[in-house]
């Protein structure tokens, strides 16, 4: 390109910027479309596998899951999975915490008794609500305390103490568990 530009020409001031920007946008869109076509299936498979692994973790006896999410009659339920061999049910539910949703995966047996609880990654404050999922002893104890419960769960009762200093996060987790139990009851009525 020449160094001496005719700045008053219509081409330089109006047409050229439009052409350059359009060309850049077209090229970048093509790049993005290509990358997306490569990564999208991998991302989808990874998400599915992660979810399956989480369900398998809370209900190891199951040999496969039937997705019944569409039939869930209760709000706050993200996923409902019924073990194909009748080992029990898995629910993914959310409660509203301090820093957004607090997702929980629980498994119940055919009678609605909690077999296992797994708190999933959330955005609660570090050192408080984050103790639910970062491997802290309090979070593990909280999950253990919920085992064997059925019907509904109350915080600060029956050994369910929650996380010290993280009342909002604990309440969110309990409400997610209750939503799951309620959903189980409704679907097995």
């Amino acid at each position: 390109m020449s160094d001496v530009k005719n700045t008053s020409s219509t081409f330089e001031t109006i047409v050229k910027p439009i052409i350059v920007l359009t060309v850049i946008c077209v090229i970048t869109s093509a790049l993005l479309a290509f990358t997306n076509s490569v990564t999208a299936p991998i991302i989808e498979a990874a998400e599915l596998a992660a979810a399956q692994a989480a369900y398998q973790e809370v209900l190891p006896e199951a040999d496969g899951f039937e997705d019944l999410t569409a039939q869930a009659p209760v709000e706050g339920i993200i996923a409902v999975m019924k073990a194909t061999n009748g080992a029990g049910w898995c629910f993914q539910a959310e409660g509203k915490g301090y820093g957004g949703a607090v997702p929980v995966i629980i498994s119940v047996d055919a009678e609605g008794k909690i077999l296992a609880v797994k708190f999933m990654q959330n955005a609660e404050s570090a050192g408080f609500g984050m103790k639910l999922w970062d491997g802290n002893a309090e979070g593990v104890a909280f999950a253990d305390a919920l085992k064997g419960k059925s019907g509904s769960v109350t915080l600060k009762a029956d050994g369910v103490d929650g996380i010290t200093g993280a009342t909002i996060s604990s309440k969110a987790a309990v409400s997610a568990v209750n939503a799951a139990l309620e959903c189980f009851a409704a679907m097995n009525a």
Partner: protein, 215 residues
């Protein structure tokens, strides 16, 4: 512009013109992701990749892009690289994606990248711009790691996930929330300024975009 040694372009970004501590760019992701060292490393690496790529492309196109639309062009290029990085991270490093959360796509509006495009890439050769990207990226990562080390050790008693402070000592958890971010940011910034005065190495700050300097 005077010929600068290639090495000085790289080292420039480490302390002298550290993007976070001296240019004070990109403070929002800095404060947000420095709760853990692992997040800081991930964020630093992702931003460095984007920074190098966008610097290269923008300096290669610096004669083609008309002044009138230079900002939309830069943003389009930067956003493309960020989205590419995001898709790749999502596909191959899903754990890092969850850790960085919304701050990964927000690299688009990280001032360091647009700042370097405006202050450096738009008036330097491709090689120099790539080196500038490397230096700035390392400087950004260093600052993040410094801040997150302070916050993770004091706030959580660990470094890179390994517990180093015995459980018997109470954690000062405020360090992992927002106030701790500002505190460690200030401490590090003061350290760099102190180092600069100590070594009698005060530098004139370059201000603004290419056009002003050329006139």
């Amino acid at each position: 512009m005077a010929e600068k040694s290639k090495m000085s372009i790289v080292t420039n970004g480490l302390i002298k013109e550290n993007p976070v501590l001296r240019l004070v760019l990109g403070t929002c992701p800095t404060l947000a992701v420095t709760t853990a060292v692992s997040n800081a490393l991930g964020m630093g690496a992702a931003a460095t990749v984007v920074l190098i790529c966008s610097n290269i492309v923008i300096s290669a196109l610096r004669k083609v892009i008309p002044d009138k639309v230079h900002l939309p062009c830069y943003i389009t290029i930067i956003a493309t690289f960020v989205t590419l990085v995001q898709m790749v991270v999502k596909a191959f490093l899903p754990a890092l994606d969850t850790a960085l959360g919304v701050y990964l796509p927000l690299i688009v509006v990280n001032c360091i990248i647009l700042g370097r495009a405006e202050m450096f890439a738009c008036k330097n050769t491709v090689v120099d711009s790539a080196l500038d990207g490397v230096g700035m990226g390392i400087g950004f990562t260093l600052a993040l790691v410094g801040m997150s080390s302070m916050r993770e050790i004091i706030g959580n008693g660990s470094w890179l996930g390994i517990t180093i402070v015995p459980e018997s000592i109470d954690r000062f958890t405020l360090m992992t929330s927002a106030p701790g971010g500002f505190f460690s940011f200030g401490v590090l910034m003061a350290l760099v300024v102190w180092y600069e005065t100590k070594t009698n190495n005060k530098i004139d700050r370059k201000i603004g975009c290419a056009k002003k300097e050329e006139n």
